[in-house]
Amino acid sequence: MSAPSRVWDTLQSNRAGRLARARSVLGAALDGKAVPGARIKDLLHNVLECGDRVCLEGNNQKQADFLGKALAGLDPDRINNLHMLQSVLALPEHLDVFERGIASKLDFSFSGPQAARVAKLVASGQLNIGAIHTYLELFSRYFIDLPPRVCLVAAEAADRHGNLYTGPNTEDTPPIVEATAFKNGIVIVQVNRIMDVLPRVDIPGDWVDFVVCSPEPYYIEPLFTRDPALISEIQVLMAMMAIKGIYAEYGVERLNHGIGFDTAAIELLLPTYAESLGLRGKIARHWALNPHPALIPAIEAGFVESVHSFGSELGMEDYIRARPDVFAVGPDGSMRSNRAMCQAAGHYACDMFIGSTLQIDLQGNSSTATLGRIAGFGGAPNMGADARGRRHASPAWLKAGRQAREGRNTIPRGQKLVVQIVETFREHMQPAFVDRLDAWELAEQAGFEIPPVMIYGDDVTHILTEEGIANLLLCRSDEEREQAIRGVAGYTPVGMARDKRMVENLRDRGIIVRAEDLGVDKRLATRDLLAARNMKDLVRASGGLYSPPRRFRNW
């Protein structure tokens, strides 16, 4: 018996073949690792093979847009059936590749701006979705069953050896490059400029195969900038309730905030309302958070001791550089962000996640999926889930765990606070509380195996609306849970269908808490209470260091 001799280095030889093709077609145009921008399509046509898994860097902030455009412009007769791996589909060209037949399959996390087009392409059969992931989940799969054959990433600058400086917006680059380079894939980078000496090395050059200097700097979205001028009195009221009813109640020191105006209001109430309650040094000290401009007044007031970030935020560079005790900065003084690390940190090292959503059902499941839009999740599910692997204790974590387990014969254990903060009606009178999430119908239409739920009800500990806070940790039955949710659902049909007696009983037991029960004076709930009421106030609070993008100015 002789077994056929097995070849063990197909990936290496395949990689060598791709590199040889590229070298041959580019000839003298290839200068070390540097490829002229004008030859990018030649490079891609030769290093790519049909059916390749291709990871295109693009998240909710920075975009490898030059490479993305080039990819979308390839000849579909030569390159087709690509399997795209992407954190975020943000730009039109991310979908052009499917429309043009260059790619056919997609695994991703979030598609906010392009969600409607994703749904259309799925319906027409031009795009097959593998799965919708959370960020951490998708990065993890790059290392297990979805290693990219080719990745297309973006960096601030490269040197002649291919070392990369990713600067404040390092974001997704490290796991993508690592997963590709160490599985014999090809790493192609677009950079804004090539330098002799980099400010610091974020990615070592021997992981990088090709560098192309793009004619325009990569696109970056100031996603986390919220103009305080748009915060409403209702949001101020809800922020007061959050601070007094949850932050102070549990002594939350380590946390992550979602992206909306509701949480921006909380950030802006720390130096005013929370200060007046004597909470400085007791709450909100350590953050897993992008450098939200709305956090500046709280940082300046000494509330915030440290912030680790997923990505950076346009205009915050100089401020971050001037506050190295607070932010993670490199030896060059500029920030280092890392989405994968920060997601892990948010999951394991934070006691609380608080964020907004679009729909909540009677089990407390929450979803941002709406009909006709396949939007995905982003990072919220990693933050907004109990870290069941967590073993270290903190007062907030222990108290939540105690409340959940009280009266039950279980071993002591903590729990993460997962708070959903929503107004009962969104704009245009869309109710935030529903009997059935749109996610169900979306799943049926798109053929998903499970409805795209952002945060599962069994992870949600509190729901906070303008009507009150429902503490789901204290509910002891499904029925109680349902009535607790109805009891803060206001005048939505779900709220009006409450059992009034049972809701009053839940209130007596402290499971439902109203503003007046907390001693929150509604008359104080005006925009007066915001530490900054407009963008200019934020600039002033930063001592002139924060420089908002032009679209956020009115000066």
């Binding site: 009606f425 245009h428 009178m429 005048y491 939505t492």
Partner: protein, 104 residues
């Protein structure tokens, strides 16, 4: 536009004679005009709203308002552009509070 009217009998709290208007007819907002006028003790409400189909919500909001304030001989007129119940209740309370504040 949809017009909704409600009438709540047997109020107990009288208003000063000077009418009061609060709020602005802008997106997601509303204006509330409250006037004291003889209505046989009742409080009447007329709502003109750009968001059709929310009669049940308005009824519940106005019923709670009436339970909170028990206005008598009061006429409330509302021009609404899709304000949420939270904003509606806030404006109504502001209007009554400023009117009653003017009394003291």
């Amino acid at each position: 536009m949809e017009t909704l009217t409600y009438r709540f009998e047997n109020g107990t709290r009288a208003l000063p004679p000077q009418p009061r208007v609060v709020g602005v007819v802008g997106s997601g907002n509303l204006e509330v005009l409250i006037e004291s006028m003889p209505q046989g003790g009742a409080c009447t409400v007329e709502i003109k709203t750009a968001a059709a189909g929310f009669g049940a919500t308005w009824q519940a909001v106005m019923l709670d308002f009436h339970e909170r304030w028990q206005l008598m001989d009061a006429s409330i007129a509302i021009n609404d552009m899709g304000a949420t119940p939270a904003v509606v209740s806030l404006r109504l309370d502001q209007a009554v509070e400023t009117m009653l504040g003017a009394l003291s």
